[in-house]
Structure formats: C-alpha cells, structure tokens
Amino acid sequence: MPMNCEEMRELLTADYIDGELDEGARGDVVKHLETCTRCRQFEEAVRRAAVEPFRHAQLSSAPASVWNQVARVLDQDRGGLVREALRCGWERLFTVRKAVYAAASLAVVILIAAILVRVPSTASRRARLSSGDVVGIHDYMQEQFLALEYQGNNGAESPVDGDMDYDGTVSVNFGTIVEEYLI
C-alpha cells in the first residue's frame, strides 16, 4: 500500500534509519524516496543532524579511581557481605520450609476431604432414613421384636442378643457401635 509523506517521515526518523523494517517495507520506502524529492531531503537532514554525529562517538575510559573506590568499599563492607550471604542462605532455607508447610497443609486438607467423603454427613443420613431405608429398618426391627417375643413366650434363646433391663424392657444389640452408627 503506497504511503503518504507524513507516514514516510515517521519511518525516516525511526525504523528505516535504524534498520528495523522488513525487506518489503524497506523496499516501499526506497521506492518512495526515489520519486519524492522532499522526503529524500528530509532523510538526508535527519541523518546529518541526528545520526551521523553519533557514528563517530567513542567509548570513554572509566578513570582508575572508580575501581579503587569500588574495591575500597568492598573491603570495608566484608562484614556486611558476609551478613548478606547468611541472609540469602536463610531466605533460601525459609523458602524450602514454606514449601514443606504448603505440602503438609495440602495433605491435611486431602485427608479431611477423604474422611468427609467416606463418612456421610448426619443430614444426608437422615435424608436417607426418611426415604427408602426406613422401610428396611422397620422390617428388621419388627423381626427382632418378634424374636424377643418368641423368647419371652418359650424361654428359648433368641437368635438376637438381648439384655433384660431392670424395668423389664428389653434393649436390643444390633452389633458393634460402628455398625449401629452406620445403620
């Protein structure tokens, strides 16, 4: 796309002069400069005023006194540098410890989450009991009481363990505490 002189001058004060254009864009600029006298004069003026003087600039040598001063400060500051090294070591150690703490915390969170998933909450247990499981438990209880009634009537051993309380009521054992809890 052909560029106007305004756009061209932006390139002439930056990308073109600094060799930052790709080959295609550079070709466009060269083509424009071949036909536009004003832009060509502008480019020459920019080079003369803002580029060429720097081309001959040389490195300046740092005075020897600078190194002497740096060395003197480093000599004076040996104690400070040792403290600095120790501080860096402590920072690294602390960084490692932080990683260990983070890993341990994560392990605890995973453990708690696993326990919560394995043991259903009281609310969900109640919800389950209020629905289909109630029927099953009801049937089971009825069966146990029938067995006790049979035992009372016949003096025979019931298939279910049962203890007679002081008031004559019967408390029924359904198994271990955990089993009772889960039921």
Binding site: P53, S60, S65
Partner: protein
C-alpha cells in the same frame, strides 16, 4: 558490550573478587560511557559507575540468568544515570564538562584528526543536552551502544512502540535544533 562467560558470572556471584574484577574490566568503559552521556558530567558519571558495580556485586548472587547479564547491566546503569540526572537537576544548558572536550584547548600538540574527534565529542554532548532524559537514554542505547528496539525495550522495560516514539521525538528535536543553527 560482549556477553561474558557464564562461569565468570557464577564465580563472581559466589563472592569471588577476582572474577568480579574481570567483569568490571570488561564492562566498565561501557557503563562509564553511558553514564557520562546520560548525566552529562564526569563527577556524576564516576559516581554512577561506582554505584552500578557495587550494586552488581551485591545483587549478582540473586541473578538467575532469566535475562542476559548485559541487559541487566544496561538496565542498572541507565536507571542509576537517570536517577542521578533527576536528583541533581543541574541547569547546565549548553555547558559541556567532558574531559575530552576540555582537551581541545591544547591545539599545539593536537593533530587535525584529534581536533576533529574532540569537536565531535563536544557536539554529541551538546546534542544530548538538548533531549529530555528518557529520549537521551534511548538515543544512547541505540546510537552509541547499537542496541535493537527490542533490546532497548527490554533494558528500559517499556513497549517497543514507546522506544520508537521516543527515538522519533528525539530526532525531530535534534533536526529542529540544527535548523535553528544550533548544530
């Protein structure tokens, strides 16, 4: 500025003074030249150079080679030089304090080439004086250090477009300066 061997950097980062001195010898003239061009005076340039190397020595142990050492060194140098420039806020319009410029006075022993070179040094310093510190930093990195736009953007931690626009404004200012007969 050439890249330094990694083993020298590592040795210096572990507090090896000999390795650090090698780094200093290889880079001090670049650091001093940038400081001199940006601050515009020898006293500040010497102080900046000293501060840069003390900072490098202290911070090298934290250097993780995520960016190149030279980019980091340029960044520390430019930032220190800009801070020094802003801090001192010297009003030295047109005043030139460079060693080399002072040496021009002794015309008896100077050859024609030497006079020409010193004249150019004085001219460059006067040109840089005409720019604001941010433009000056970009021009020094581009014209004197020969960095690409991407490298300048990395050193100054600014977008490439900002590098481009600062260079454009700087060159327009230098062109205007010459057209007003101040070249």
């Amino acid at each position: 500025m050439q890249a330094l061997p990694r083993e020298i950097l590592i040795a210096a980062s572990e507090g090896n003074r000999s390795a650090f001195e090698k780094i200093y010898r290889a880079t001090c003239d670049y650091v001093y030249t940038i400081a001199l061009k940006v601050t515009g005076n020898r006293a500040d340039a010497e102080e900046v150079t000293q501060d840069v190397f003390l900072k490098i020595f202290r911070e090298l142990k934290r250097f993780r080679f995520a960016s190149s050492f030279t980019t980091w060194l340029y960044r520390v140098t430019i930032n220190s030089a800009l801070n020094a420039t802003r801090k001192t806020r010297r009003q030295r319009m047109g005043q030139v304090e460079y060693n080399d410029a002072i040496a021009v006075g002794d015309g008896r022993s100077a050859t024609h080439d030497a006079i020409e070179r010193e004249h150019n040094v004085a001219r460059v310093s006067a040109m840089l004086e005409a720019l604001n510190p941010d433009q000056r930093a970009c021009i020094v990195l581009r014209e004197i250090e020969g960095l690409r736009y991407k490298e300048i953007a990395d050193v100054l931690k600014i977008p490439i477009n900002t590098v481009r626009s600062r260079l454009q404004r700087a060159r327009e200012a230098l062109l205007a300066r010459e057209q007003h007969g101040e070249g």
